[in-house]
Amino acid sequence: MTLFSTDHKVIGKQYIGLALFSVFLGMLLSLVMRFHLVHPDTKVRLFQMLWPEGAPGGQMTPELYLSLMTMHGTIMVFFVLTTAPQSGFGNYFLPLQIGAHDMAFPVLNMLSFWTTVLSLVTLLLAFVVEGGAPLSGWTAYPPLSGLGKITGPGQGLGQDLWILSIAIFCVASLMGAINIIVTVIELRAPGMGYFDMPLTCWGWFVTALISLFAFAVLLPGGVLLLLDRVAGTSFFIPGGLIVNDQVQGRSGGSPLLFQHLFWFFGHPEVYIAILPGMGVISTVLSVFSGKKVFGYKAMAVAMLAIGGLGFVVWGHHMFISGMSPYSSVAFSVLTMAVGVPSAVKTFNWLATLWGGRLRFTAAMHYALGFVSLFITGGITGLVLGQPGLDIYFHDTYFVVAHFHLIMGVAAVFAIFSALHYWFPKMYGRFLNERLGKIHFFLTFVGVYAVFVPLHFAGFVGNPRRYPDFKEYEFLKSVTGLHMGVTHAAYFLAAVQLIFLFNYFWSQRRGAVAPGNPWGATTREWTDD
């Protein structure tokens, strides 16, 4: 029975399917949000049909907007960026590239996938329970997330389900991480050393190591938060609170403690999202410039450095949180230091292209687009990494622009690149190259049009997580900007249909691919 198959290739495809479903769902949610931001008073019948409680008479309430935002962020981060690059492509290609028959623990592998499905179902259930989905964002800071319904609709059962979903996801990711690490350590083909592995394998290996430590911290963080909600403990809830005129009988807890636990996971999480993509991009750039990757060893070492340093910079998310200003100084220096290996990788990619003979396949287009987006999204990190400057930009649209470019869109471009590159291996047929390139050009223009202007809303000081901007005089100046961004988002979403069509059509009708269509040298193409 293929549904519960233990074959790594099937499981890889299942993960990719799950991510594909999630990314389109997350995108649809973002369109609804973008619509509401520029038409806050327009009544929409569809909203009322979908969310009778959240949009009475079709008028979207602020709590509905915030719950869509929470679900959008959570779905994108966990079920797209943590799932497709690592568990999807990693499962499918890691064993092939190191010459193993399968993953080290095939049954565990199957269980990880279905645990992930369970986690997604749990999350989506939050939409239909009383009060709807939680409104505290993908970061779920207590006390907002720790006191139940009293802090807002969606903060009751919806928030419980959200925490439960994340806890289940942690378990699934830990199982997946152990599987990948053991596979790399024990199942490499005879004679293949660590530094003989393709960089893709390095990406999956380092990502699995990061996951092992990061999710092992998020899991207890989630459990403690859940206990604060259901068992009346005071891990994160201080004493003397009065919410909605009701005195809360807690004492001594620390909201900042949760933030430390969350970001100890949260910062490494962005590397979980991007490192496998970096591996893919290195491979694609090298294959289509007809050269080896420039500085292979430096690239592998840079990944390890990013993975390691990634665990000591979490405080840059907390510069404004009220933690000790002295620790901000330390976190800031470390943060700028972790930027160095990322910049080194960019230079190595450019040097890989240098002196080559570039073949502009669709996969190559996405890879080059990735590099451009990585630069654009990366340099703003040099602003946010300085606590003195973050003091203005924290929680503004500048941050939204920064993380969408570097973590969201860049990682999604890596997924597109990987799909075009490996599709012939996965389905024996090509994705249509012409459609692929058209999709690339339109998407590339679209993401710049959506996310670059948002930096400027940040310059104006536009706070994020606002369902509308009506209350403030100073936000009148960004009305036009947001209108433009929303239209660009419609455009961006519409052109994704090209990809969707290509993906399903080519599985059955695409041009039949030979065994090694790109002239690659890694084992998934050359073995057989």
Binding site: V182, G253, L261
Partner: protein
Amino acid sequence: MTNVARTGQTLLVVASSMLFAAVTSAMVVRRGIGGDWVAPELPVCVWATAVLGPLASWLVLRGWVRGAVIAGGLLVVLQVLVLAELRMAVIGEAFLSVLVGAHALHAAAGVAALARWGERAGLFWHFVGALWIYVLFLFGVWA
């Protein structure tokens, strides 16, 4: 034990250690700033359970897996009894509950693994036994 099984268990041990380290550091921080810390009292009979882990390990090494399963199972049952006594509203006891609960899950998994795979799951069990001593030590001496 195959290499794959050994490496897999080692990584599980790493992940679990990280998890317990996270709870421990949360506890250190929370105790430092809360101002409402009261150390939970551990009755002597709880201390006595410390021997069950090593006892089961010894039995595994002697090849008497069934005995180890019984000793491990007894530990889990006693842990559940301890949990029932703890009050969540008192922060020290809440942390103890989390650690005992997390450990009970590990111990139950360890017992199941011993029952299923016998000595091959020994590595994980040795860790579980040591971890329990760590938890008791944490509360008996430090808290």
